[in-house]
C-alpha cells in the first residue's frame, strides 16, 4: 500500500455542512512528509518491488556510519524514521526524490493512519479488556469489585488456558485507524486534516497510507 511518514500534530474540530445538516466533527491535524526516497528496491535485485522513505531530521553525531553512507547515497541529511512501502507505481520515484503531501493525497481521499498508542502501564482487566468486574460490593464481596472472577474450571483441565485475558501491560501498541476522511490539505505546511482521532501522543511518528 502506498503511504508516507508523518507526525501527529494535535486535535481540533470543525463545522461541516451538507444539504441536510451541519455537524461539528472532531479532526486531527497531521504533518505529512516531506519524505526522501532513500532506496529503491526492485524484483531483480531484492526479490520484490518497494521504495524506502525517510522522514524527520536526525543529528549526524547520533547516526551510525553505515546509515550515514546510506543517506549520502540519496544525497540527503540523516533522517529519523526509515520505512519501506510497497504499492507505489514501479519506476515512478528515483533515489533522492522528495515526496510531499500533494504527490499522494488529495481532498476527500480515505486514509488509514498507523500510530503507537500511549502507554498505560500495568492495567487490570476492567480497563484493559473491558470486563465489568465482579459488580456487587455486598454479599461478602468487600474487596474485589474490579477482579476478573473465575479463570477456569478445577480438576479438568487442571490448568489455565493459554491466551486467557488477564491484567498486564496496556498501550504502546501499533494501532491502525482505518477509513479516515481527508478533510483539508495544506500543501505549504505539509499538513493534512483528517476526520476522527489517531492513536498516540502529539508529536509522535505515524504512517499515513491510502486505503
Amino acid at each position: 500500500m502506498s503511504g508516507i511518514i508523518g507526525k501527529k500534530i494535535g486535535m481540533t474540530n470543525i463545522f461541516q455542512s451538507d444539504e441536510a445538516s451541519t455537524k461539528q466533527i472532531a479532526c486531527t491535524l497531521l504533518q505529512v512528509g516531506p519524505c526522501v526516497v532513500t532506496q529503491v528496491k526492485t524484483k531483480e535485485t531484492d526479490g520484490y518491488d518497494a521504495i524506502q522513505l525517510s522522514y524527520g531530521e536526525k543529528k549526524p553525531k547520533n547516526t551510525s556510519k553505515a546509515m550515514k553512507v546510506h543517506f549520502e547515497k540519496a544525497k540527503t541529511t540523516p533522517k529519523f524514521k526509515v520505512i519501506e512501502f510497497k504499492g507505489f507505481a514501479k519506476g515512478k520515484y528515483q533515489l533522492g526524490d522528495v515526496l510531499t503531501v500533494t504527490d499522494i493525497f488529495s481532498e476527500k481521499d480515505v486514509v488509514n493512519v498507523i500510530g503507537t498508542s500511549k502507554g498505560k502501564g500495568f492495567q487490570g482487566v476492567v480497563k484493559r479488556h473491558g470486563f465489568s468486574g465482579v459488580g456487587a460490593t455486598t454479599h461478602g464481596q468487600h474487596d474485589r469489585a474490579r477482579h476478573p472472577g473465575s479463570i477456569g474450571a478445577s480438576s479438568y483441565p487442571s490448568r489455565v488456558f493459554k491466551g486467557l485475558r488477564m491484567g498486564g501491560r496496556m498501550g504502546g501498541d501499533r494501532i491502525k485507524t482505518k477509513n479516515l476522511k481527508v478533510l483539508r490539505i495544506y500543501p505549504q505546511d505539509n499538513a493534512i486534516l483528517v476526520s476522527g482521532s489517531v492513536a498516540g501522543a502529539n508529536n509522535s511518528y505515524i504512517i499515513i497510507e491510502k486505503s
Partner: protein, 122 residues
Amino acid sequence: MNPLIKKLVESENSSIRAKYPDFKSGDTINVHVTIREGTKDRVQQFKGIVIQRRNRNTNGETFTVRKVSNGVGVERVFPILSPNIALIEMIKQGFVRRARIYYMRGKMGKAARIKDKKVVVS
C-alpha cells in the same frame, strides 16, 4: 496547543468571531438562533445571563446562557462557531468577580441580580 493548528485550521473562523460582541460571564446577551422546521428556517431568541465561556479562542469554544423562564431556570450551551447562531446582541454588561458564575443557579428573584459594570468615560 500546537501553533500550527491555530494557524491552519482555527484561523479560518476569525471572521465569525469578529461578528460577535466581546461578551463575558455576567453579561446579559440575546442570542438569535436559527431553527430548521421541516424545510423552513425560523429565528428564535434566547435572552439571558452568560454564566461561562469555555475553551476560549479554540474551535471548541462554547458559552452557556442562563435565564429563568416561568420560575424554572433554563440553561443553553452554544458553540460559538455554530452556523445556527445568527446574531448575538449585548444587552447589558455586568460586573462579576469570577469567570464561571455557577452560584447564579442557587439564586432566584432579587438575589439573582448582577451589578452593572461601570464604564469609564475618558
